[in-house]
């Protein structure tokens, strides 16, 4: 029987605002928390001997148009238990705390979320782009992203028929 981690969290951290949301794809429920509480919640889930969620599957960055969303899939290997944390991040100041010091796997996942969605992770050890070239402008998985006409000298056309003129041999 899986423990009710929401009640447990509410009991441990009384001033943290938490609410649950049904998952679209599975029976698991996602735990919504505030960006300012993320570090405290993550720390207690990782370090408390009762919780001991010792493995971070993934961090996913999502653009919800009004806000950004970071989704953390956290797993406890010894008990085969998984919980989902979700954090809504305001778009005008998209910064949350890094959890890379708690789960080393967060390092590259946070770099990916930064690279593609533009979430900034406070206190991340090395927040560089991970997939796109270092001199790329913008974050392509934002809904309002407009691809450039050129990357360096290479064309990145949106409307190909008009723009591409292939060299003839």
């Amino acid at each position: 029987m899986q423990k009710n981690w929401v009640d447990w969290l509410k009991q441990k951290l009384e001033d943290v605002s938490i609410h649950l949301e049904d998952s679209v794809l599975s029976s698991e429920k996602a735990i919504f928390i505030q960006p300012t509480d993320l570090l405290r919640v993550a720390t207690i889930l990782r370090t408390d001997p009762e919780a001991k969620f010792d493995f971070l599957h993934s961090i996913t960055g999502i653009d919800l148009k009004s806000d950004l969303l970071a989704v953390y899939h956290i797993y406890a290997i010894s008990r085969n238990e998984r919980i989902i944390l979700k954090v809504k991040i305001p778009k005008d100041h998209p910064m949350i705390d890094s959890v890379a010091h708690l789960w080393p796997s967060a390092d590259w996942h946070e770099r990916e979320a930064f690279d593609l969605v533009g979430i900034l992770f406070h206190n991340h050890p090395d927040l560089r782009r991970i997939l796109l070239p270092d001199d790329w402008e913008g974050h392509p998985l934002r809904k309002d992203y407009v691809p450039p006409d050129y990357y360096g000298e290479f064309p990145v056309p949106a409307n190909l028929k008009d723009r591409i003129k292939r060299p003839t041999n």
């Binding site: 796109l132 992203y145 064309p155 990145v156 591409i164 292939r166 060299p167």
Partner: protein, 162 residues
Amino acid sequence: MTPPKEGLYGRNILITNVDKLFRWARASSIWPQTFGLACCAIEMMAAAASRFDLDRFGVFMRPSPRQSDAMIISGTVTLKMASRVRRLYEQMPDPKWVISMGSCANSGGPYWEGGYHVLKGVDLIIPVDVYIPGCPPRPEALIDGILELQRIIKETEHNRAI
């Protein structure tokens, strides 16, 4: 005295011209670079391995652009990779040929519309001799493309300017 005609004379004498001999040699030992960009590279590896065995055609992967005379663009050319692909092409000694393998290398493939990060065809940066359609093409298709390249090398009167 009339010069001897091309052909076989006796058991051990062959008369031909240097150009033809060179073209025959080049077509019979196409050495492509060992590099792959995406899933097409898996098919290329399968083609090079024992079941399809590209060695039969004298095709033998080389680990350095300086030792190769062909380049198989096997996969998606991202914009990050495009400058590297062109540099590899420029490092190859002449004469050199390029096979564009699969939809991505031909035209961007599934990234044609939404691929902000993909070059829409490798022929935008380097000249291509043979296009192989498919996503990914089977090893037979790659072998067909290599045979086509051999035909081009053998039959083209003047190879690309050196």
